[in-house]
Symmetry: C2
Subunit: 203 residues, 2 copies
DNA sequence: ATAAGTACAGTACATTTGTACCATATGTAA
DNA sequence: TTACATATGGTACAAATGTACTGTACTTAT
């Protein structure tokens, strides 16, 4: 119709080698790319172009599937937090198998801290929730899940205390190259868990 | 000399109403403005223009006193962390006056968490240290200071455990509008500090 | 008082970014 | 096969931003 546009840098739609129609797959690729990139580069540096490149799609697709960058960010954060959900499940499995002891908790924390991506995810989720309260439930989900998991054996107070220690250790691992030594974590838990955790009763 | 420049939007240096020469004061104003703004808007949104506006100086001054934005950021972060240093001093005063007890520690943490600026400072420092390892000592200073302070009475293991709880509570306060209830913090500390802290000896 | 040097304000400009837009390729129904 | 609809790639463009630059006001030494 109207050809009154400029096209300073060339005309649009010239070559176009590939590009099957696949809206759902497209969207998934974009979300997955965003979920990968957030822990890598941080939310602050997440751009349409970066996500498009990682997803292997054109810039235009990022605006087609997400009204604005904020929506893309949120979708990426949600997808990203799935990894925390998986970690939650593996923690539950371990604690059910080994019981809730300083040793089993130490193993779990140390394993978490050694996966730098999980640490980065936790931090970026916290930062995001700080900027947008809508994301608070997502950011609290992991911690609340652990509290629920530990409460039956440790009671709600100590359960929350253990989660605070986990989050503190996460902050430490985010700042420092090496996380706190596993042996120190074990000593902390062995010393601070009252009565060294009776098999099922309480104090 | 060469007047080959464009000046599309006007000629530079036209009116200039005020502007005493005061290099040192200028620099201080800029650093102070940056230190104020970082907890307010976050490092990601700290720009030359924003700092200049807050400091009440021209854009040009920001580039005159700092080779690049990163230097301005670092100067602001360093100045900002002075508030944590002051908090460290007040904590030391309290613990020396009241002794290291679950109650005195609870008071101190609750007071910290209620000062949202301190929480924001801790978080931004952590984020910054994650992006630039040069800032790690700055980010670790507060936690290490508390550990040193608590170690004589609690031993190094529990001292680090208490600091992890503090950092965990800081993360929680960063995400949620209201920090953890003081009573819960007190219960956590009262339960998890072994033997409820004998006046000076160890277990 | 005057000249030289420095600080300052106010631009200018290249780059990056979010987002809108369009021509074409792909898919679907007749 | 031919219309029609939609997805895709490739821009276009305005706003924001880091930083360089320039003319002028202020300061200081003579």
């Amino acid at each position: 119709m109207n050809t009154e546009r400029h096209f300073e840098h060339g005309t649009p739609g010239e070559v176009v080698p590939s590009g099957r129609h696949d809206p759902e797959g497209r969207r998934r690729q974009l979300v997955r790319a965003a979920a990968e990139l957030i822990p890598e580069v941080g939310l602050a540096k997440l751009t349409h172009r970066l996500v498009a490149q990682r997803a292997g799609v054109s810039l235009g697709s990022t605006t087609r599937y997400f009204a604005n960058l904020d929506e893309l960010r949120k979708a990426g954060l949600t997808e990203m937090s799935e990894l925390l959900e998986e970690d939650l499940a593996s923690t539950r499995a371990r604690l059910e198998a080994e019981g809730v002891t300083p040793e089993s908790l130490t193993e779990d924390i140390a394993e978490f801290l050694d996966q730098h991506e999980l640490v980065r995810i936790s931090i970026e989720l916290m930062v995001a929730a700080n900027a947008d309260p809508v994301l608070r439930p997502l950011a609290n989900h992991w911690a609340d899940g652990i509290v629920d998991m530990l409460t039956p054996t440790l009671g709600p107070v100590v359960a929350r205390g253990v989660v605070l220690i986990m989050d503190g250790a996460t902050m430490h691992a985010s700042v420092n190259e090496a996380p706190l030594p596993k042996e120190l974590l074990r000593e902390i838990l062995a010393t601070m868990l009252p009565v060294a955790v009776p098999p099922s009763g309480e104090a």
